[in-house]
Amino acid sequence: MESNDPLIIAGKHYASRLLVGTGKYKDFEETRAAVDASGAQIVTVAIRRTNIGQNAGEPSLLDYLPPAEFTYLPNTAGCYTADDAVRTLRLARELLDGHSLVKLEVLGDPQTLFPDMPETLKAAEILVREGFDVMVYCSDDPIQARRLEEIGCVAVMPLASIIGSGMGILNPWNLRLIIDQARVPVLVDAGVGTASDAAIAMELGCDAVLMNSAISHARNPVLMASAMKKAVQAGREAFLAGRMPRKLYSAEPSSPQTGIIAPAAIAKAA
């Protein structure tokens, strides 16, 4: 699919600016239906141990989301050290036939799932050196984001609020600082709760939004996926269109101020 406003990550063009996770759906049918409704071309997956000796014949996620149709973004969710994250992504690359686009996240704390930035930076350096195209989950600290970009990450992905919280865009000012300085795509990677949050992220100038729970935990995930697709598109168009300036406490009518049938009323008010 070509678009005249593509998202470009690691040299590859994508028409959709919505990236979705594939976790926490009722079943694979619902996962597939939600991904289709979202229009996402990039889908995140987790890397986990197989259940040895159990259900060798059961269907897998890859049967429902064939790697030929989607760009996979294997993640390092659950990793708390740089070493574990690097090992996980080396295995992901082997699993996905040399695929290099990955999502790095090194967590610091199971309560908040906040990123451990020193470990994240360490893992990013190793992965970039090994030829991975690293999209990196990070704090909304412009200095950390810049460091990650300098290391060679292909996208920086600050949290908007805590992973899975649905609390929305809590610090638009920090996101703006990151967006304004970045020369690689900036994605909001966590915290979106509903469609307006996604639109706000895009209006701020984010290049794309990555979400999972906001769709999978909605009462109707497929309908929410459709809403998110529209919100991301609307937010992008609003950003490109450029919003009107804010005029605090200074009204300006949209209709002509002349030719009113009761000009006396204006004179009286003035």
Partner: protein, 67 residues
Amino acid sequence: MNTVNFNGQDWPLPEPVTVRTMLERIGLADKRVAVERNGQVVPKSRHTEVVVSDGDRIEIIVAVGGG
């Protein structure tokens, strides 16, 4: 008894086998999985060469739903 640690659990290993044979015995030979032996990825092209022996730590992973 020789043992091999698969995904964090010890299993008996009657004799050293190749990674390929190991995958066949546990029914994963034709599945999309990736294998790590003692912290190093074993590329698919080397599954018939690399031997799993006593005390090895093997990880076998798949892609699952995640965000």
